[in-house]
């Protein structure tokens, strides 16, 4: 009843995804190589569609895992490798290299990264914090796109 990384890599959609390895890592807790069903579910719980009645539930309890904020946090953690709550220029460069490969020169990649930071950065620390990340994706329908719907 345990999954390992090789099992995940057999999924074609994950295998060809440039961020596939990072997504797989998100399933496994710190330093471990196996994930049980509970852990698997916990990660997948981020992708539950947001239901309307949940918004009216009491705010006292902890936020459910599939709230918009938590979904964005999940995505944020994919980019923020050193877990300092900021996406730095280097992390962006890494992502770019994975997405685009060798087809664009390094200098242009650097420019793209700089440009991205400039668009998103609001407090001028040349890194994208979580709040800025949320602001960037404000207009994106995250609730819809980061949801897996079964039998709906």
């Amino acid at each position: 009843g345990l999954l390992s990384r090789e099992d995940f890599q057999r999924i074609p959609e994950l295998a060809i995804n440039p961020l596939g390895d990072r997504i797989i890592n998100a399933f496994f807790p710190e330093g471990e190589d196996q994930v049980n069903f509970r852990g698997f579910m916990r990660t997948l719980a981020h992708f539950r569609p947001i239901e309307d009645n949940e918004k009216s539930k009491d705010q006292n309890g902890p936020e459910p895992l599939n709230s918009r904020s938590n979904k964005l946090h999940f995505a944020f953690r994919l980019y923020d490798l050193d877990k300092d709550d900021k996406i730095s220029r280097d992390e962006l460069l890494q992502v770019l290299r994975m997405m685009v490969g060798v087809n664009i020169s390094d200098e242009q990649l650097g420019s793209i990264a700089d440009r991205t930071i400039q668009e998103a950065d609001q407090d001028g620390d040349s890194a994208i914090s979580f709040a800025e990340f949320v602001k960037v994706l404000e207009k994106v329908d995250v609730e819809q796109k980061m949801s897996i719907r079964f039998l709906h």
């Binding site: 959609e13 009645n53 992502v95 685009v100 664009i104 440009r115 668009e119 620390d125 040349s126």
Partner: protein, 864 residues
């Protein structure tokens, strides 16, 4: 022990209320369980609490606060409730629960429903959840019906059940409707491999198929079927019979292929229809129907096209204006997580790369310092060349059509001469577009604009061809009209002569009628027009299919199999696999439809041919795309072009309406064929119908309405209404833009409030500066100095970094960014860079963002 677990694990329903009620329900269920069966007949749908859940949720929220207070009451009323519930479960109609008990019961039911809806979130084990769920569902079923009062109980239960069933039915019907959409899976497959732009062509094709199907239904049901069923059969009249001279060859395939012979004298063409005013025992007015169907074909198409355009416009205004985060969005949201096919993934990589490159190019393009004069000269040259090409092709078509007229008079024409017109037009359509593309390379436009120019030119090419063809056809028609007079006389005298000769022997016997095949026939110009258009359409279809077969499939086979023994890499080099030519195909479809519209009045069967063509085309092209095309290297955004194609369609519709309207209004119909034969003009059928079939006052009304004195003011009124609506819509757009600006300003204010903790109002800022001069004396002169030096350049640091202003520190950017940013904003939003820029004017910053920490924010900080 379950109940203790409940109490300890209860999280979201913190109220003890629910626990108490559940305990009660457990007991009540046990007691009343035997009697559940009595109520069971009324409640069929289990667990369909969804529809009422939402409305109960809002009630729940209010009741939550009151619930806690009532908890104590509930415990006391437990026994009374149990007896009441067992009494109610006896389902006797006279039994009426008291108000209080009713309210209690309703509350309980709602609690149960809420429990059911939130069941998934509870951190219990599966077994427990299932049992609690079943229990709650049973309770709801049993007692929901009991909520109605007295005699209305059953009705209430019935209503609830019907409401649930209705919702279920609606949902199933929606599912069914979605399943009924034809070719959905096929299109989805194409979309997943080739992207949304290629799929949009197929969606357009499917939409066209739907429209044509409706048109075909109209024409077939209202014109062809009545004539075939109730009209005179073949051979009974001259117009319906193959003339004696042609009968020998009427069945030959070559003659049939040219739509002569038996096909010409069939219901497919105008000439077959009889001009009898009413036919059959239903007294069906066929000429009137023919005319009205012809008009409604155009009316329906117009309505459908405009409705589709309006819908597209609605969607496109929804997401238009977010160029704030171009690069961020590309970076974070460009991967399509639904791709599972490795080849598609490779293409997605390539398209992401290209998209980044395009954005970079976009940014740099505006900074390009190019020789304007050279560019203008080249563009003018290119346009001149292309206009020459267009004129040349127009003249070629005209010449060829003229030649074909002389050929038709000759005998022994070869296959080439007979089909020369169609061949030439198809060849032009095949070779001119690539020619235009190569010439357009001179112009050096942005690719999106270049595409629009290309489409416009191809459109002009096809239009020019089509209209030249039509003009030549008009010459033909005029000739035939002249001929007609001659034949009319001839027919008249022949009939008279036959009559006399046969009656010469015996004047009392009625003469045998002349065999219809022998009557001299007029040159039915409408049928000729119909035949020409049908021939053109058929050849167009054939050329398209052959092009796909050869250009895509054979090419793909060649590249794949011959690649092993060829000098250079065929797949990467010259022929390689074809990409799906979206714009060419869409234009082809649009023009084809234009021809159908033009020809459907004279050849009712044309729409049927088109329906067949679209059907086969869908399957054939889907197969061709999947088997021999490769996805585009450059993925186009589909949504913006869609209205462009609809606009073309609308234009073609209007243009194809013109010839038909002209011929209806000004040409006399042939004297011996078609439903309008014998009339002076085709539209006279309307007057005839109004006079003979409608009561008198209708005729009077129509005569008043048709008065130009009424029509011209009506047209003026409509023009004014259009002007007014246009002005209103512009005002709305302006208001929209203003609101957006306000919202953005507000957001900026908030952000600064959060960050700076100072007021962002420039007047208040000045006030602050005056009030606290001591702390700011060092920084303010510097900042004042900065402000002065930076104000001309300051607008380059815009709020909308998407303008690319900061990509280069050059002053050129300020021109672009200045349009939207009021100067006060600059000081507010960019204090950090103000501080930096002044001390380091010469610092090279290619991308405009200071890499280091930001010292210039000193305005607010010293205060704190």
């Amino acid at each position: 022990e379950d109940k203790e677990e409940d109490e300890s694990k209860e999280e979201d329903n913190g109220s003890q209320q629910n626990r108490a009620s559940r305990r009660k329900n457990y007991q009540r269920k046990n007691r009343a369980g035997k009697k559940a069966g009595e109520e069971g007949s009324q409640k069929k749908d289990r667990g369909k609490t969804a529809p009422t859940k939402d409305q109960k949720e809002s009630e729940n929220k209010e009741k939550k606060t009151t619930k806690k207070g009532k908890e104590g009451e509930n415990k006391q009323k437990k026994d009374r409730k149990n007896s009441a519930s067992s009494a109610s479960s006896n389902s006797s109609d006279e039994e009426s629960l008291s108000e209080e008990e009713l309210a209690m019961l309703m509350e309980q039911v709602e609690q149960k429903k809420k429990l059911i809806s939130t069941m998934r979130n509870k951190p219990w084990r599966m077994v427990k959840k299932l049992s609690v769920l079943r229990e709650a569902q049973d309770f709801v079923e049993k007692f929901e019906g009991a909520l109605g009062k007295g005699k209305g109980k059953k009705l209430y239960a019935y209503k609830m059940m019907m409401a649930k069933k209705w919702v279920k039915f609606k949902r199933d019907f929606e599912n069914f409707k979605t399943q009924c959409i034809p070719w959905e899976m096929k299109i989805k497959e194409v979309e997943s491999h080739f992207g949304s732009s290629v799929a949009s062509y197929f969606i357009f094709l499917r939409w066209m198929y739907g429209v044509n199907l409706v048109l075909f239904g109209l024409i077939f049901g209202l014109v062809i079927i009545p004539e075939v069923l109730m009209g005179m059969p073949y051979g009974s009249m001259p117009r319906k019979t193959v003339p004696r001279s042609e009968q020998a060859t009427a069945m030959d395939f070559s003659v049939l292929w040219d739509f002569e012979g038996y096909i010409k004298y069939s219901a497919l063409f105008y000439g077959y229809y009889n001009n009898q005013r009413t036919i059959g025992w239903l007294k069906y007015r066929l000429p009137m129907a023919y005319f009205m169907v012809g008009i409604s074909v155009f009316g329906y198409s117009l309505m459908v096209v405009i409705r589709s355009m309006a819908r597209n416009a609605n969607e496109s205004t929804a997401d238009g204006d977010d160029d704030n985060f171009i690069f961020s969005w590309k970076m974070f949201t460009s991967w399509d997580y639904l791709i599972g096919n490795p080849e598609t993934a490779d293409n997605k990589f390539a398209s992401i790369t290209t998209s980044f490159k395009e954005s970079i190019v976009d940014e740099q393009e505006s900074n390009k310092d190019e020789n304007i004069h050279l560019r203008r000269f080249l563009r003018v040259l290119a346009n001149v060349l292309i206009i020459c090409c267009l004129c040349g092709s127009g003249y070629l078509i005209y010449f060829v059509v003229k030649r074909s007229q002389t050929f038709s008079k000759m005998q022994n024409v070869g296959w080439y001469e007979r089909n020369e017109v169609e061949i030439v037009m198809s060849l032009l359509g095949m070779f001119c577009p690539p020619l235009f593309e190569t010439i357009a390379a001179l112009e050096n436009y942005h690719p999106r604009i270049g595409l629009k120019w290309q489409l416009g030119r191809i459109f002009a090419l096809f239009l020019g061809n089509l209209y030249t063809f039509l003009l030549a056809l008009m010459d033909d028609v005029n000739e035939k009209l002249a001929e007609e007079d001659v034949v009319k006389n001839l027919t008249h005298w022949t009939l008279l002569g036959h009559h006399n000769s046969s009656a010469g022997n015996d004047s009392t016997v009625t003469p045998p009628p002349l065999d219809p095949a022998d009557v001299p026939r007029g040159p039915c110009w409408e049928t000729t027009v119909g035949i020409e258009i049908v021939r053109l359409t058929v050849s167009d279809i054939l050329v398209t299919y052959i092009t796909i077969l050869v250009g895509d499939f054979i090419r793909a086979c060649f590249v794949r199999f011959v690649n092993y023994c060829w000098c250079w890499d065929l797949e990467a080099g010259f022929p390689s696999y074809a990409e799906f030519d979206i714009s060419g195909n869409v234009l082809g479809l649009v023009f084809n439809q234009g021809m159908i519209w033009m020809g459907s009045f004279y050849a009712p069967g044309l729409v049927g041919i088109n329906v067949l063509r679209l059907l086969t085309s869908m399957y054939f092209q889907c197969w061709a795309v999947m088997s021999s095309n490769v996805p585009h290297a450059r993925v186009f955004k589909a949504s913006k072009s869609n209205n462009f194609y609809m606009g073309l369609l609308l234009l073609i519709l209007f243009l194809s309406l013109l010839p038909v309207a002209y011929t209806i209004m000004s040409l006399p119909p042939s004297f011996d064929c078609g439903p309008f034969s014998g009339k002076k003009r085709m539209y006279e059928v309307i007057q005839e119908t109004i006079e003979l079939d409608f009561p008198l006052f209708v005729a009077k009304i129509f005569s008043y309405v048709a008065n130009p004195g009424l029509i011209i003011p009506a047209i003026l009124l409509m023009v004014l209404a259009i002007y007014y609506l246009n002005a209103v819509s512009e005002a709305y757009q302006r208001a929209n833009a203003e609101l957006k600006k306000k919202m953005q300003m507000q957001r900026e204010e908030e952000k600064n409030k959060r960050n700076n903790k100072t007021s962002t109002n420039p007047m208040l800022q000045d006030l602050e500066e005056l009030l606290t001069p001591s702390t700011k004396t060092e920084s303010s002169p510097r900042e004042a100095g900065d402000k002065k030096t930076e104000s001309p350049n300051g607008t380059s640091l815009v709020r909308k970094p998407g303008r690319g202003a900061a990509l280069d520190g050059s002053p050129m950017a300020s021109g672009r960014g200045a349009a939207f940013t009021p100067p006060s904003q600059v000081f507010v939003t960019q204090p950090r860079t103000l501080g930096i820029r002044a001390p380091y004017p010469g610092q090279p910053r290619p991308w405009g963002h200071p890499p280091g920490p930001v010292p210039g924010r000193g305005r607010g900080h010293p205060c704190y």
